[in-house]
């Protein structure tokens, strides 16, 4: 199976082609085809993972094209890193696709949704298997396209259409940087394949500040895709897409592709002098982890809270990679994929039940939707790093690596961890505790007909995937537990980058911080010792700053839409009146000269004779004068 791993992405691709061609006529209106494609791919991924754990390895290459005298070879690589990603994407995507059958029921464009999901799964699996910059860039763009199509799935809603546009263009800015990085690497190493390029960089083909620049430029692509500061603005808006899409693309898989890219091209960063490139990765990650968490505290839309949480958690992964915690960063990627997918699907189940996204119109849902509530709470405990849930193990590894490397980075991460507990506690209490505050009858019509009035638990096709994901969210962390010998760390590690030894004191501090965040949330939202209203009154500027997302969106709107629009309009006017004006001026001059010369060419002999006579006079006078 390992040698034939390239077949895995083709399964969802075949599903996509089939649904596009035959759509509504297929069983389950295409949904079953899509599920078959991804479930088979997921099984393939698990088999490959098993084989790779057993020591298998594959690198299949072929010639893409011969340009000049030199063939450009590309191919697929199956190693521990791609195997774990294959398995993770396959499993998470399978569960989300099954869940979508329930969530999307009744949508007029139902087959189209599954076609897009399949196309996305193909692109993501293709990206994961790439052994070269060409394929990873191609997969990168294709997942971006699918994200664009799925954010704008309800294209008739202006907000969704705008969000799709924003996501594609923002990530393209990152891709622009990534492309320059790829060009530099190709220029100096002459290869697009990772192993060849890194080998010649090791040999000194590319070194010094230029290597750092190349690494940082490649990282630029990851900043866009993984929504790191300062290109994070698209991800919260991307929540306009259907919730399974948010779970699959904007939480579990695609956004993690940026982290995967850094891990895949790790030698590039590691070889940069003084780890300069890694330091940049770490600081971008640390800042993102904290800044995104602060914005999550004031958000009322359940999905957007989770979006900020995603940005923040991606920051932790980057932070982990940046502080030489290669294993920690990747481990957090894997655990996060499961519990964040679960959180989003749970949020989708809630939205399905109450037909609103606003947590202030929810409340008391633990009674009416117990499955959703308890799985969601399990995932929240994982996210906030409460032992022994999955996120505790992975986040603690990241923080431990940061502590060993740079205390400032640790402080950023620790502050983010406190805020994570705070905003998730707030979310849990608003949503599941207390009494139901909703009941706006108009809202029920917002997402489809045929629902019973009032909140209700979701159908089994949605709840079962939640339960399966919850098992992962609860138990997956043990894969990285030191007490069990850290099997994940033995499988995924980077030669020459050793994980830091466990630090028991730090572990206690981490747990204390997480619990403190929960306690703060309880103090504000449950016991109301310091109610949120009084906090808001006490610090109006802070509240405004957070609600307006540090004015970054406003700044970009002003610069790119305002200033950019002005440049565009000026270019249009310049072209019309200056460039084309000159052309028409030349034409006009030619015409005027012609009109002027017409008076000489009258066709009357007396005029010509007069001219001849005047000419003679001029010649004679000239002769006499000189």
């Amino acid at each position: 199976m390992t040698q034939a791993a390239w077949i895995i992405p083709l399964l969802p691709l075949a599903a996509f082609a089939l649904i596009t061609a035959a759509g509504p006529r297929l069983p389950g209106r295409g949904a079953y085809v899509s599920i078959a494609g991804i479930v088979l791919a997921g099984i393939g991924g698990l088999v490959v993972l098993g084989e790779v754990i057993g020591g298998a390895h594959a690198d299949v290459t072929y010639t893409w094209a011969v340009l000049g005298a030199k063939p450009i070879t590309v191919g697929f690589v199956v190693d521990p890193l791609s195997a774990i990603m294959l398995a993770m994407v396959g499993v998470v995507a399978s569960l989300i696709t099954i869940y979508s059958v329930g969530y999307m029921a009744g949508d007029p464009h139902y087959p189209r949704f599954f076609a897009y999901l399949s196309l996305f799964q193909f692109s993501m699996l293709f990206l994961v298997l790439a052994d070269n910059f060409l394929f990873i860039y191609a997969g990168w763009e294709l997942v971006g396209l699918c994200s664009y199509l799925l954010i704008g799935f309800w294209f008739e809603r202006p907000a969704a259409a705008r969000a799709a546009l924003k996501a594609f263009i923002t990530t393209r800015v990152g891709d622009f940087s990534m492309m320059i990085g790829i060009l530099i690497i190709f220029l100096y190493t002459g290869s697009l394949r990772f192993d060849e390029a890194f080998r010649s960089i090791q040999g000194g083909a590319l070194a010094g500040p230029l290597l750092t620049a190349a690494a940082v430029l490649v990282f630029g692509g990851a900043i866009g895709k993984s929504a790191q500061v300062p290109l994070h603005v698209w991800l919260p808006d991307a929540m306009e897409g259907p919730t399974p899409v948010s779970a699959l693309i904007h939480a579990a898989t695609m956004v993690a592709a940026g982290v995967y890219l850094v891990a895949r091209t790790y030698p590039l960063f590691l070889l940069s002098p003084n780890h300069a490139a890694l330091t940049i990765v770490a600081y971008i990650g640390g800042i993102t982890a904290l800044v995104a968490a602060t914005m999550g505290v004031v958000e009322d839309d359940i999905k957007r809270v989770l979006a900020y949480s995603t940005i923040s958690q991606l920051g932790y992964m980057m932070l982990g990679l940046g502080v030489l915690g290669y294993t920690a960063g990747m481990f957090h990627l894997i655990t996060h994929a499961f519990f964040k997918a679960l959180l989003f699907l749970g949020a989708g189940s809630v939205i399905h039940g109450v037909a609103t996204n606003n947590i202030k119109q929810m409340g008391g849902l633990a009674q009416v939707m117990p499955w959703t509530a308890w799985t969601f709470i399990a995932a929240t405990l994982a996210l906030t790093g409460i032992p022994p849930f999955a996120g505790f193990f992975s986040k603690d590894q990241v923080l431990a690596a940061a502590f060993a490397h740079d205390r400032v980075l640790w402080a950023l991460g620790a502050a983010g961890a406190f805020l994570t507990s705070l905003y998730m506690g707030r979310l849990i209490w608003y949503t599941f505790a207390g009494t139901y505050r909703g009941g706006d009858p108009g809202a029920a019509r917002a997402h489809g007909a045929g629902h019973a009035p009032g909140p209700h638990e979701s159908p089994a096709v949605m709840v079962v995937p939640l339960a399966i994901l919850a098992v992962f969210a609860v138990f997956l962390g043990w894969a990285g537990a030191e007490s069990l010998g850290n099997p994940f760390g033995r499988f995924i590690h980077f030669a020459g980058v050793e994980p830091v030894p466990p630090n028991f004191g730090l572990l206690v501090v981490s747990i204390a911080i997480a619990v403190a965040g929960w306690a703060a949330a309880a103090a504000i939202y449950v016991w109301r010792i310091v109610p949120s209203e009084s906090l808001r009154r006490a610090m109006p500027w802070a509240y405004t700053l957070l609600v307006r997302r540090y004015f970054v969106d406003d700044l970009y709107a002003w610069v790119f839409i305002g200033l950019g629009g002005l440049v565009v309009r000026l270019a249009g006017l310049f072209d019309r009146y200056v460039v084309d004006g000159l052309v028409n001026l030349v034409g006009w001059l030619a015409r005027q000269v012609g009109l002027g010369l017409r008076y000489i060419q009258t066709g009357r002999e007396e005029t010509y004779l007069l001219l001849v006579f005047l000419g003679v006079v001029v010649i004679v006078v000239a002769r006499l004068v000189w």
Partner: protein, 502 residues
């Protein structure tokens, strides 16, 4: 001596001659004759491709050489290689599609079809001629039918656009003629034969004269491409031309210019081109960025696509200029080959993609909405799913999405050009971001959002329109996914040309 290229070249003219004999009233017969002629010509070109030895795509094949005007040294010399053969097939294919699309043209259909057939011979002649005399004749022949097509079947300002198009490109042609004559009068023995002149390089010893001759060729080709700042005839011509005219104009006629740079300017005047490559590259990059910015400012969909052509042809010229700059520097030969491959690939990709885009603009304008204002639409996806799908496919291909034809071309251009002009290539890359922005913004304004109730009754594509677009859509995807065969042929030809550059 096979005669196959002559067959490809003259079938359209023979069809035009037959059409002369068909009475004006028999519209159906006229259309059928035109269709049969163009299909026959397409099949002939496919036959030619079948007889072409792709293993030797770098050498000129299917050669026909007949004495023509011995006193001048002009011969009837035709041949194709991996550069011209794909362009020939693209030309014959697109002409078939134009005839299919133009089925409903009711205004003077006989003259219309005759002009298209003559235009086809003119365009094919430029690609297969290897004698300057013959080349120049076809170059001019391709101009005149287009003048009438715009002038008679065009939009409200057709007279202005047609005259501007004609005069502007004619000025370029005359400059090119001067260039040809300079080369001719310095050759010995005197000959118009391109292959002989590439070997002779009559101006190799005199750089100043070579640069003078280059300026002549440059003006001729650059106006045709069109390069910034010679591009302003293009939006006017496109906006006024009938749909099929726009398609051929964008897909084929613009390629005459870039083809001229690759086929003639590079091997004939390598030193002069090398000396001026920086200027050409700068103009190319200005065309990329500026074309994209101005495209964004347009509210007329046809004009927007026209300016996107300025942008895309800029990439082609960046690749060609990079190859010219690499002349004489052995270390850069591979980069030059990559860039030149990309440039030629981009000619084909732009032909297919922009051809499709102009058809698509015609579909909505000619027989449906009768407006091209980007802001007049909204939410058409709901109403026209197939049309929307094709338009999005073509626009995504145009903005260089991997897996589609345009990406292969742009990626190769950047990969090659970056090694020669790193800074300019980075500037050109910003053009890609702007291109993404304006195409997506256009998609957003036309197809997304709530349906504009004005268009609630629009029908989706009909069979004929689907047939026009299907081959182009298939090409975009097929070549995008598996470019190796096309790239293989082009690569051999590019290596052959770079060998001549030395």
């Amino acid at each position: 001596m096979s005669g196959l290229l002559s067959l490809v070249l003259w079938i359209p003219s023979a069809g035009a001659a037959v059409l002369l004999a068909v009475p004006r009233g028999q519209v159906r017969t006229i259309r059928l004759v035109a269709l049969v002629t163009t299909i026959a010509d397409f099949l002939a070109s496919v036959w030619a491709a079948g007889s072409f030895d792709f293993a030797r795509a770098g050498t000129l094949q299917l050669t026909e050489q007949v004495r023509w005007i011995p006193s001048l040294g002009a011969t009837y010399h035709l041949a194709v290689d991996g550069l011209s053969l794909p362009l020939v097939v693209l030309t014959t294919l697109l002409t078939v599609l134009c005839v299919i699309y133009s089925w409903r043209v009711d205004l003077r259909p006989k003259a219309y079809m005759i002009l298209f057939l003559l235009l086809e011979t003119g365009m094919l002649g430029v690609f297969v001629a290897l004698d300057f005399f013959l080349f120049y004749v076809f170059w001019e022949v391709s101009l005149i039918p287009m003048y009438f097509i715009i002038g008679i079947w065009g939009g409200p300002r057709r007279a202005y656009a047609a005259i501007k198009f004609f005069l502007y490109t004619l000025v370029g042609s005359l400059a090119m003629l001067l260039g040809i004559l300079i080369v001719y009068f310095h050759s010995s023995p005197r000959t118009f034969d391109m292959v002989a002149l590439f070997q002779q390089k009559p101006l190799a010893g005199d750089l100043h004269l070579a640069i003078l001759a280059f300026w002549g060729f440059f003006l001729g080709f650059a106006i045709k491409v069109p390069m910034f700042p010679f591009h302003t005839w293009l939006p006017d011509a496109h906006v006024e031309a009938p749909t099929a005219g726009s398609v051929l104009l964008a897909a084929i006629l613009l390629k005459l210019g870039t083809y001229g740079f690759v086929r003639i300017a590079l091997p004939l005047l390598p030193a002069a081109f090398h000396a001026l490559a920086g200027m050409v590259a700068v103009l190319a990059v200005i065309g990329v960025v500026y074309g994209a910015l101005v495209a964004m400012a347009q509210t007329d969909l046809k004009k927007l696509v026209a300016y996107s052509s300025v942008n895309h042809m800029g990439y082609v010229m960046l690749g060609v200029a990079a190859a010219a700059a690499a002349g004489g520097r052995p270390a850069l030969q591979n980069a030059a080959a990559i860039a030149l491959n990309g440039a030629t690939m981009q000619m084909l990709a732009h032909g297919v993609i922009t051809g499709a885009l102009f058809f698509l603009v015609g579909v909505i304008y000619d027989y449906r909405a009768h407006t091209r204002g980007v802001n007049d639409f909204g939410g058409l996806w709901e109403r026209l799913p197939v049309y929307t799908g094709l338009m999005m496919l073509a626009m995504l291909a145009s903005l260089g999405l991997p897996g589609l034809m345009g990406f292969v071309a742009e990626f190769s251009i950047f990969l090659g050009a970056y090694q020669i002009y790193p800074a300019l290539t980075i500037v050109a890359l910003t053009g890609v971001v702007i291109t993404v922005a304006f195409f997506l913004w256009t998609i957003y304004r036309i197809f997304w959002g709530p349906l504009n109730s004005r268009w609630a009754g629009l029908p989706d594509l009909d069979g004929r329109e689907a047939w026009t677009l299907a081959p182009l859509a298939v090409l975009m995807i097929a070549v995008g996914l598996y470019p190796a065969p096309v790239v293989g042929a082009i690569n051999a030809a590019m290596l052959g040309i770079l060998n001549l550059v030395r």
